[in-house]
Amino acid sequence: MLGLNSKDFTLFLVVVVLVIAAPILLNPFPSDSAFAQFNAGYPALMQRFVIFGILVIGFNILFGLTGYLSFGHAAFLGVGSFAAVWMFKLLSYNIVPAVLLSVIVAGLFSVVIGYVSLRRSGIYFSILTLAFAQMMYAIAYSDLLGKFFGGIVTNGETGLQVYNDDPQILMSPGDPTVPHLFGWEMNSSFTWDVGGWSFVFQNGYYLSGILMLASFYLAIRIFRSPFGLMLRAIKSNQNRLAYTGVSSRPYALAAFVISGMYAGLAGGLLAAMDPLTGAERMFWTASGEIVIMSILGGVGTLIGPILGAGVIKYMENIVSTINDNVVHGWFAFMPDGIENILVTVIHPFIGKGWHLTLGLVFMAVVIFLPGGLVEGGQRLGRLFERRKVEEKPPTATTEPAE
């Protein structure tokens, strides 16, 4: 179906269903229950799930297939956001030109950066991309371009946003004053109250979700194409590939540009959800987060990056909002002494300490599941299969472990 083999099509279908039903699935606890804290089904967070999903799907085309570890991918995200906000400032709040320009500008930047960085491989490639990204961050943070040309380009540490006196030449009087798709406002939503639950379906989330599904579909096609096969060959043995008559540089550059454009799309969508941006989006920790997301989920797998992005954004937004009072609430039924001890033990891992939790989770995954969360899923799957086989030994055939 759709040019995919049945296994990939099933996977794609599962992701489609998850994206459509996320506002319900991610809100399992009634709004007034003690666990409502863990609900992730609110628009701002769901948008982040799918937008960072796009970013990491694209990153995985480069890192997962070719093995080139870009350590400056957030730069393309940032560039995309700046391009989109400039479109809002100059034209109108319609997101179509904004997102298109984000993708194009990120693509152009990645051609230049990729062309230079891909002259080296391994750690040197990573350092070159990191250097480029930090240069771009520094330029954006101090708005060197603005100082050079006079006026503002990135607006330094204040960040770029839309002001009332911006030209917005395509704006007619009745147009919405928030990002919209031909009048369909990104931040408007429909709330469905049922029982103790309240599910929010937001336009912006669904638009990003559709674009993520399109990106995911394209990524599957690339993974299964001859082009994808060549990219995997680059990761496996460049020497043999060269003596097979293939020039690996243009393949790697194409992968780099594609993943840069994915990042630009993600950056444009971030701006479309909230029309302001700043240089901190390009900082190296943001690039590092992308690497961590893809390793956590499973490098080179189709679904891994989306899982990784989801887990990290969940922790960043949920674990970081848990404070001591909430934990006191959980353990209120215990004697005071024990309650205080438990709260003290948990304290470093919650709120601002969520990075510590993330670090421990990341270490556990890298050490015990080198293939990421996807490998965890596969092991679970195999465990269940083995049980089934043991239950009916007469028909069972033993297969060598892979």
Partner: protein, 252 residues
């Protein structure tokens, strides 16, 4: 006029004359072995032949075109394939994918953006690869990871990857280095089989006399960077100069 013509090639590394006035002509459809003691310049010569090293002077012509200064993928496109000392294969991919890649390379050239079609739909390429695998008796291993093959099978796979492109010249760099006697004999049989089935020119750089005398139709003996003598295996065996420079030394 041979398919590969090396004329007056010199190469110095600092004070060391690695190759001195090397002239070599490899005739089409022959198995030509290049032998010589350690440090005779065999590897340097091979690196010159594949464009990896540019000689200080002289020319290397393949079918009327110079190979010097060309990149590895361009050398391949001229019709030269190379088998390495340790098999160079795509260890992370399946055996079938390993053979499909050279098929794609042969059809599509150095770069083609084929990002949307599915590999599974490339029936021609798949058939071509499977026919080749059947030819080297590896069809039943199609779906295995190339990295998990035995050493002999890795060598077999590498040969299949080279042969599927139907090269006009196959360069073999010590194809049996480090192999057990049984594996060596298998490799010799494989090469004989390949030679019997198709028109192909092979240039073998080899240490092992057993391999050389089982396969070669012409032998060039290198010593101290210069060709000492070139002749048929039978004549080489009894040649006094060769005995002195190489076989004599090997008898120690």
């Amino acid at each position: 006029m041979g398919i590969l013509e090396v004329k007056g090639v010199n190469k110095r590394f600092g004070g060391l004359q690695a190759l001195g006035n090397v002239n070599l002509s490899i005739a089409e459809n022959t198995v030509h072995a290049i032998i010589g003691p350690n440090g005779a310049g065999k590897s340097t010569l091979l690196n010159v032949l594949v464009g990896k090293l540019i000689p200080d002077s002289g020319s290397v012509m393949f079918d009327g075109q110079s190979v010097l200064g060309r990149k590895p993928h361009e050398i391949n496109q001229l019709g030269i394939s190379r088998v390495f000392q340790t098999p160079e294969i795509f260890t992370d991919l399946t055996v079938l994918e390993n053979v499909m890649i050279p098929c794609f390379a042969k059809r599509d050239g150095a770069f083609r953006m084929h990002a949307i079609e599915s590999v599974g739909h490339e029936v021609d390429i798949k058939t071509q690869a499977e026919t080749m695998l059947a030819d080297v008796n590896m069809l039943e291993k199609s779906n295995m990871h190339a990295g998990s093959l035995s050493r002999g099978d890795k060598r077999r796979l590498e040969m299949a990857m080279c042969l599927v492109q139907e090269p006009r010249l196959l360069l073999l760099d010590e194809p049996t280095a480090g192999m057990a006697r049984a594996d060596t004999n298998n490799t010799i049989d494989l090469l004989k089989e390949i030679k019997a089935k198709r028109d192909i020119t092979m240039a073998i750089i080899e240490h092992d006399m057993h391999v050389v005398f089982s396969l070669a139709e012409r032998i060039t003996v290198l010593a101290q960077g210069t060709p000492l003598v070139e002749d048929t295996p039978d004549n080489i065996k009894g040649h006094p100069k060769v005995k002195e420079a190489y076989l004599g030394e090997a008898a120690h």
